[in-house]
């Protein structure tokens, strides 16, 4: 557990003044690299006695890049959306004790000033259990991790018998955070009971869903927690080798995990006789060119073996996995949970969650919301809390229409069901899946048929092509949606889509095919009227499907400024200055440039 002295040491550092700058893939994209260099420059130039400290990301993407200033005697203050030119000003003001410009402070001393993290909406409903270190410690320093209580869980586990370790996870009720929610202890137990001299544990860090990045965030901000969980899993099942499977497209994640493995090996948390026990274990980081299908465990194993297709289960990997040996595959988040459970005890873990699914889960909220980011909430939290309270709801003037949960293989939950408490079973019964936990918020400017088309084209491209229903069926579904969005489909086609989708879902080989038609099936379930509208009236209610919309000029508003005619690439707009312009529909390619260009709002989508 994190004691007050340790926390102070982490917060303020040895020099009593720490400036945290998040360095991870997401913040770097938002410009944290520049901020980092600028902070160092300012600190040097002004002779501020501060340590510039690199941390991982907290998951509050909407305020990237942020910095946190912490000096002993002052509450640590977080500044969001920092620009390089503000930094000098921020550091000067903070040093003088003026916190008024901070977005939030980590804890409050006295009244007034910026709100504490516990008081702001994007933090209040969160339970930072597994992401506790994210944004707090240097991900590349093993000592800082140990300071926060790291590798204590491993030590505890190594004092237990293997059965006892599995029993601890059983009493915690931890379920796989990768999507299906299979009880973790059962997987371990089956592998443990196998008589085999070589066993493997694999950490699945593939994470291929568009709009989900909690695994990357966790492994980039706190790689040692994942590694510790993997070592405990290895000990529990009696494995000799662990593999961390990372996408090569996430280089920083792989680099940090590799660094973590190296450091852990140096300090004796990996290798022979770990912590003076007779447990030998080593870990390798495996980089693979990403394929969405590798999220499926048999395909992941095949990818390590050099092929890339799933196979029919059973035999399950727990009995017949990598190179034919018993193999346990756990998600990054599951393993981080394992480490945290052993560090803080089961009681802390079971405090949150529902009867059937204990603990917390990280969710990525993206799409049409004010505050995109990664939020860790107890399982069983309402969708409403996540979308409206934490993420701030839709952008001004828009209305949330649906939430796509579980990525491309999940389903759309309509706005009317926002009161739904999210756990594995409830989501499944409403046609979505928990998946890795990506929530894409869709507002009323989106056409649901178009949304289904987008996700279908994704799974179609990612289908490995092994089994017939997924390979050919998804192609037909995609063609069908193409016809629907061009207004060429008939009502029968909607029924065919339903029947074909159900057939693919039930008769496919792996989970990818089994869930690939979910976007279509769930939109058909909740938004059938939009499909019918596309067919019967050949109209797209949200005015998204290009072939079904028409641009027209409102004569009352047009002043004849010729802006639209000038931007039109195909010369479809005619009219001389001062006159009402006209669009020639035979030539118009519906690119929408005129709509953007018109300063008077005279061009309308019909």
């Amino acid at each position: 557990m994190l004691t007050q002295t340790s926390l102070n040491r982490i917060l303020y550092g040895s020099r009593g003044f720490r400036i945290r700058v998040p360095i991870s893939s997401c913040t770097l994209a938002a410009g944290a690299g520049e901020v980092y260099r600028k902070v160092i420059k300012v600190v040097e130039e002004h002779g501020v006695d501060a340590e510039v400290y690199r941390v991982g990301c907290t998951g509050l993407c909407f305020m990237d890049p942020w910095i946190e200033l912490a000096r002993e005697g002052l509450p640590p203050a977080i500044y969001g959306n920092v620009k390089t030119e503000q930094i000098e000003h921020i550091i000067k003001n903070y040093s003088e004790g003026d916190l008024s410009e901070a977005t939030a402070v980590r804890f409050k001393t006295g009244s007034g000033g910026p709100p504490a993290l516990e008081e702001v909406d994007f933090w209040r409903y969160q339970v930072r259990y597994v992401s506790r270190n994210c944004g707090l410690v240097d991900p590349e320093s093993i000592y800082d991790y140990i300071e926060t209580g790291g590798y204590l869980g491993l030590k505890k586990a190594l004092y237990m018998k293997q059965e006892e370790v599995i029993e601890v996870i059983k009493t915690s009720g931890l379920r796989g955070r990768g999507g299906a929610g299979f009880p973790t202890w059962l997987k371990w137990k089956i592998a443990y009971e196998q008589k085999n001299d070589v066993k493997y544990v694999i950490c699945n860090g593939d994470e291929g869903d568009p709009g989900a990045f909690m695994n990357r965030l966790l492994a980039e901000s706190d790689p040692h927690r994942v590694l510790e969980g993997l070592i405990i899993a290895g000990y529990a099942v009696g494995a000799t080798r662990g593999i961390i499977f990372v996408r090569a497209e996430k280089p920083l994640m792989a680099d940090r995990l590799e660094k973590a493995v190296e450091d852990a090996r140096k300090l004796g948390f990996l290798g022979k006789n770990i912590l003076s026990s007779n447990f030998n274990f080593d870990v390798e980081v495996y980089r693979s060119a990403g394929a969405f299908v590798c999220g499926e465990e048999t395909a992941l194993i095949a990818a390590i073996e050099g092929r890339s297709r799933p196979r029919q289960r059973p035999p399950y990997p727990a009995t017949h996995g990598l190179w034919g040996r018993p193999t346990v595959i756990n998600n990054v988040e599951t393993l981080a949970h394992v480490a945290t459970i052993f560090q803080t005890g089961v009681e802390e873990f079971v405090k949150h969650g529902t009867e059937k699914s204990r603990g917390t889960k990280m969710f990525c909220v993206t799409g049409a919301v004010k505050r995109t980011g990664v939020y860790e909430v107890p399982i069983g939290t309402k969708i409403k809390t996540l979308v409206f309270d934490l993420a701030g709801g839709s952008i001004e003037g828009r209305k949330v229409k649906a939430v796509q949960i579980g990525g491309p293989s999940g389903g759309c939950i309509p706005a009317e069901l926002m009161d739904l408490e999210m756990d594995y079973e409830s989501l499944q019964s409403y046609g979505a899946i928990m998946g890795s936990g990506g929530l894409v918020v869709i507002d009323d400017s989106n056409c649901m048929v178009d949304v289904a088309k987008f996700f279908t084209s994704f799974t179609l491209a990612e289908s490995c092509g092994k089994c017939l229903p997924c390979r050919v069926g998804m192609r037909h579904l995609s063609d069908l949606l193409e016809r629907l969005t061009s207004g060429e489909a008939s009502l029968e086609d909607i029924e065919v889509a339903q029947e074909l989708g159900e057939s693919i879902a039930r008769s496919s080989l792996c989970a990818l095919g089994g869930t690939a038609p979910n976007p279509i099936l769930s939109t058909l379930r909740y938004f059938k009227d939009e499909y019918v509208e596309h067919v019967v009236n050949r109209r797209c209610p949200a005015k998204v499907c290009a072939k079904l919309v028409k641009y027209s000029v409102d004569p009352a508003l047009c002043r004849g400024c010729t802006q639209c005619a000038r931007v039109c690439q195909v010369g479809a707009i005619s009219g001389s200055p001062g006159e009402v312009h006209r669009i020639n529909y035979d030539i118009c390619i519906k690119c929408g440039q005129c709509l953007i260009a018109c300063p008077f709002g005279a061009i309308k989508k019909v």
Partner: protein
Amino acid sequence: MVKVYVNGVEVEVPPGVPIIEAVEKAGYRVPVLCYLNDFFSEATCRLCVVLVNGRVVPACKFPVSDGAKIVTESRELDTYRRMNFQLLLSTHRIKCWSCLRKTSCSLLDLSKQLNLGEFPVCSECPLTGDDCLVAKGEPCLGPLTAAGCSAECTRNGVPCLGCRGYIEDPELWRDSMRDLYEKHGVDGEKLEAAAKFFWSFLPGELKKIISEVSRDK
């Protein structure tokens, strides 16, 4: 040995064998395509799906478990099999007239078993190569007509008149025109005359294609 129930019939099989062996032992049949005894069982065609304790699984790969209740025929399974077979056919370009496998074609057998999919009369016609009536310049409508008549007419040297109805597959119409009628120089007027027999039943596009051949000659 484990006991399983195939459609209620109790059979004993060695543990771990695929369900299909238990099904066969019980005297039932499931359609199979990609499964080749001992050589290939990757469960890719998904035509052999059966229900095991309510779960849809491929019979060729899924191992038996003690007391498993296997159902081989149901409306649901039939839908999946038909659907998957149709998906397979949608990727298959039918050219039975020049296909070497037409006497030993698994697809043809399956289409009969599932009562699905239409193949041309050529698939049943024993005349191949130079013996083919079209190759001899006869206006045989076999390539455009649905099979099922055992090709009685062409077998006896009489060109097909298309009494069983045309096949609804524009790709096949064009293929047969190019591969057969035009290549062998069948007289377009003769062909049109033969097609006139059931002319009013033909769809517009097919009529157009036939008329074009006729006009070109």
